[in-house]
Subunit: 179 residues, 2 copies
């Protein structure tokens, strides 16, 4: 960030009065610009004991498999975001279950949340951001071709014998590299 | 948003290629600016069957009572944000329990999350953003002087006989007004 989006003057990083961390502040109009983590919302879509995965058609991690998920938009709820992303990436209508995981990825300023979900009618197809979409039984999950550590850890926990409760944890940079 | 924060040229709202909603896009360098919901993280701090509430010293809702909570910052986890806010607003060190509620407030583009928590040593005090901080038994909660609907609904659910599980719901504008 170099310029104020309100008045086009230059911005500097400094600690505003009453604050305790550096922010971008306009040198002219003193507007303070906050940057906060973003939510990625998705689902674990199930149909007849199989989980629906999408092979990514876009970077990052093009060609790798993921649960349908994407950035939550202004004006929608977490549930709506998760359902919308499942429709956009997998052309699948889902009925949401419980919140299953909430995972912070601090080094990229993201919080990933996944809801359990059931396909409404078993229909799905590759959306614009997917190369292909397919159902996988537990033993067929492409563990070494998963796109993101949050997806891998969510699936690992999902297939444990007693996956009850919400799984709240963090992914550290070294874990992200070990995927 | 009027000007590009990268090159100071004017921005327009339009739907970028491959997207399906309007964004701010720079007229000169084509940078796309996304705006996403922000997370407010807080705790339900308990000590000897009482809940710690803070009377707000700042707007909005100055003078009203709230659970300690505030905007999650880049680089921290949801749990760290909740603990930090509890320390900043109530000068209280807490041990976190479970994620208790995740509430979208779509009309202000916020997601509020609250963790159950226990005071570590029973010590607390008013932080810079609080007029006073106090422990309340259920029957003494100032229900009509609570600052925000997400706080009210989180407390109502917390005091129900069987509050197990995560409470995921939304606050609509008309509910916000009815507080």
């Amino acid at each position: 960030m170099k310029y104020c989006s309100h008045c086009a003057a230059t911005v500097s990083t400094r600690i505003p009065q009453g604050d305790n961390r550096e922010r971008f502040v306009c040198d002219q109009c003193d507007t303070i610009f906050y940057h906060n983590p973003r939510i990625v919302a998705g689902t674990i879509p199930v149909w007849e004991d199989k989980v629906l995965l999408c092979r990514r058609a876009i970077e990052p991690r093009r060609g790798f498999w993921t649960l349908p998920a994407g950035f939550m938009e202004n004006g929608e709820s977490t549930e709506q975001a998760a359902q919308r992303e499942t429709m956009e990436e997998a052309c699948a209508e889902v009925k949401l279950g419980q919140l299953f995981s909430m995972i912070t990825v601090p080094h990229i300023d993201q919080v990933h949340i996944f809801f359990t979900a059931e396909l409404v009618d078993g229909r799905f197809a590759a959306g614009a951001e997917s190369l292909e979409v397919a159902l996988f039984a537990e033993q067929d999950i492409p563990w070494h071709e998963l796109a993101f550590p949050t997806v891998k850890q969510t699936l690992q926990r999902f297939f444990k014998p007693d996956p009850a409760g919400v799984h709240v944890f963090d992914i550290l940079p070294q874990q992200a590299l070990r995927l």
